[in-house]
Assembly symmetry: D2
Homo-oligomer: 268 residues x 4
Amino acid sequence: MRRWAAYRGEPLYLEELVSSPAHSLIEQSHCATRAKTATNGDGFGIAWYGDRPEPGRYRDILPAWSDCNLRSLARQIRSPLFLAHVRAATTGATRRDNCHPFVHGRWSFMHNGQISGFEQIRRSMESLLCDELFNARTGTTDSELLFLLALRFGLDADPLGAVEKAIATVEKLSYEKSGEALVRFTAAFSNGRELYAVRYATDHRPPTLYAAPMGETAGGKQGYCLVSEPLNDEADTWVEIPDGSAVRVNDEGMQALLFQPQSLSKAA
Amino acid sequence: MRRWAAYRGEPLYLEELVSSPAHSLIEQSHCATRAKTATNGDGFGIAWYGDRPEPGRYRDILPAWSDCNLRSLARQIRSPLFLAHVRAATTGATRRDNCHPFVHGRWSFMHNGQISGFEQIRRSMESLLCDELFNARTGTTDSELLFLLALRFGLDADPLGAVEKAIATVEKLSYEKSGEALVRFTAAFSNGRELYAVRYATDHRPPTLYAAPMGETAGGKQGYCLVSEPLNDEADTWVEIPDGSAVRVNDEGMQALLFQPQSLSKAA
Amino acid sequence: MRRWAAYRGEPLYLEELVSSPAHSLIEQSHCATRAKTATNGDGFGIAWYGDRPEPGRYRDILPAWSDCNLRSLARQIRSPLFLAHVRAATTGATRRDNCHPFVHGRWSFMHNGQISGFEQIRRSMESLLCDELFNARTGTTDSELLFLLALRFGLDADPLGAVEKAIATVEKLSYEKSGEALVRFTAAFSNGRELYAVRYATDHRPPTLYAAPMGETAGGKQGYCLVSEPLNDEADTWVEIPDGSAVRVNDEGMQALLFQPQSLSKAA
Amino acid sequence: MRRWAAYRGEPLYLEELVSSPAHSLIEQSHCATRAKTATNGDGFGIAWYGDRPEPGRYRDILPAWSDCNLRSLARQIRSPLFLAHVRAATTGATRRDNCHPFVHGRWSFMHNGQISGFEQIRRSMESLLCDELFNARTGTTDSELLFLLALRFGLDADPLGAVEKAIATVEKLSYEKSGEALVRFTAAFSNGRELYAVRYATDHRPPTLYAAPMGETAGGKQGYCLVSEPLNDEADTWVEIPDGSAVRVNDEGMQALLFQPQSLSKAA
């Protein structure tokens, strides 16, 4: 189980999601109130968009709560679009290369969930990558591989469609290998312009996903925050995104969309 | 809150306390069942006695559960006397110099507990050290400073008396500074021959301390294990050491003793 | 021996000093061309001023050349005033708390040089600190202690005078302890408005210090760079700052000043 | 360029190779006297055989010279057969999974050298692994992949033949990909009984390899040390192992053998 938060809107200091709120990511990582695993002490990462098209990234394997670099960076860096993640390892050893978010070119990606039997299909998944993406793999997690598969399937041209194809492919490979497929998947990703999040599970029990407006509201301008767990106890503020859905945040605000890898999977 | 285990007896692989039992230290650090703080993800350390008079030591700031070096060392190293500790920071930043056990010459020391208002009396405590011990301080924890104070007060000549004096001094300084003194203290320490543990609190609510026989029993030879929390659910095996007590393990077995810093404190 | 670079002027990406130039800090850390010690593989740090009065800071104990976080941050962060440092340990163990720059409130500080016999006078130096500054000490280096002493002697009111007093005090303590005093000292420090650097040695052999104009020049606006070693081979660009001197960079440009702790030391 | 040392013989404290001699590995890593790259500040590792058939291992990404854990372990652990390595990264990011020695079952392996154009043939090399060995890959280095290929080709049954086949395969893949093959290869490996080292390069310019008797000599018993660079200046002691050779150390002493991947390569 991991925790994450993503934001798009008027520039915000990262600390407003990472370390300040009642249930900030750092607080969540230390004392998980509703988590199934006891703690998220296996590293963290942030990716943010600034003046350049590619995001900046900082990640480390220390527990988020003891990293003074993270606190200082989150206090200094202000960004209109960023992703932040704390990790409790499910697959992949604890090392920087396995910490979310993953970055490739302009894209950033982070993930929460599981692929049952990943070790059995990892090699088949890797074989679908072109050489350039294969060589871009630096870690061993299922999450990074899903991201690279989505890039392979056209993340630039059709972001949600490409992620649907990646998930459908995983389901198909799992089914071929073991006669069943269990994928639980909640993810956020961005190209520096739009911010996306999706929620989906083959057994209809995906990790949670919430959205809320956030940031400057005086001048009518504001932003949206997408999170794995609410950042405060104001239950009214947070909308739970249902299973089989995606959200997209861009200049026009936040739109809800369908996310249905299973239709591809059945078609295939 | 921290968890620790110490052993003296027939040589034992460290993994038999650190990673193997149902409630091994690594397991405890990941999913604390009775702990007051949520996790122990802030580093760990081991000190063991082998062929040399000084102990070896390995410590790191990663969560114990994700450190493959620790697993490999615990599987290879066999010792008749060792201390192992996992840490959730209370005072002192997360860095190796602040990880238990602390080592000085032949002595090793680890601690669980708290000194209320430590920051107010830290400087006064340090001023009691001789230059050699002052210069030996490498971290910023209350635990290391208690250990150095005990060395100052004659740990070699009278181990339990020196620790009593160190605690009594802390109580006195706290009282002078703030009109009250709260010290909760459970510790284990060794000179490579005897293994000691003490349990004491000014408010009679010290962290827990348990003892159990362990290791080879066939030939009549065996050892003793001292722990902050039982390592398995066999409640009959574990004896709770009461507040105001010490235990000493040597070639004659395990002896229970009084530990009463407050008598010194009142006398002073 | 350490290497450092500092900049004040039009906002510049940190990478323009840290990773881009021919003799960038990262390159210098890996393959020191004129260094006396073989390498600078013991950590690094950056401090930069942005929207807030206090600087941001990032530091780690890895060799600078292998830290992908540093490269990403240096590529994203643009600042009008920043300090960057790579370290080969002379005193103090390798850990984050001992990595430059040091930060206290609005001040940042980094240092290159040595205090002969530091271990003998460390305790006397610490005893001169008020409790607040004593408690602010988190590492064990001579550099951090010099910085805290300068704060104690009024860094806010008279920056260069306070550093002169700190150095003079060290000389006096050394002389009292051992009958001689050897201090070699090159440092840069800032309060977020002015950037200062000083060069001084009791034996007139201080570490090197160079200055050069840098950055946007089209509109007449530009900045100044202060470094321990030139960042490229354009020898004409770099002015060597002489022993016993200081430089101050502010909105009016760069001014050269005297820096003479010895006059204080002799007076005392 | 990396530095390494291996030993087989009467049990020896690791520090006798790692930290004690004039040109110990730690000293070599800090101030390389004949190295082509300036420093070896990118991590280190040790693997040693004790009571169990599988070796213990400790590795970390810090510079070897600043790791107090390494010094303590090298001082405590005594072993009849061990490998020690310091690394300056050529391929693969700095992280523990990329630090030598690599371990699989009873085998340990460390390597010094280069495969020109490794990135172009990495995927083809990986495709030759069976699923079990493919899944055992945790890092991204050419060295780990060579080791896994050698296991694939029968390291247990014919240690030197399997390594010859691995090298020959690399040459063949390189030649197919680019019309040329440049492999420079010096390695040491062990199954816990015999210790092997090989030296070979397609252009006859392999990294250096030396052997010397070492350890207890009084009772006639002794051991042999195999190193990338001599550990002291006694030139008479060290025998340079020529290009195209292997050495094997077992209970009968040290034997020199041919090592000729190119004959396989041409035959193929």
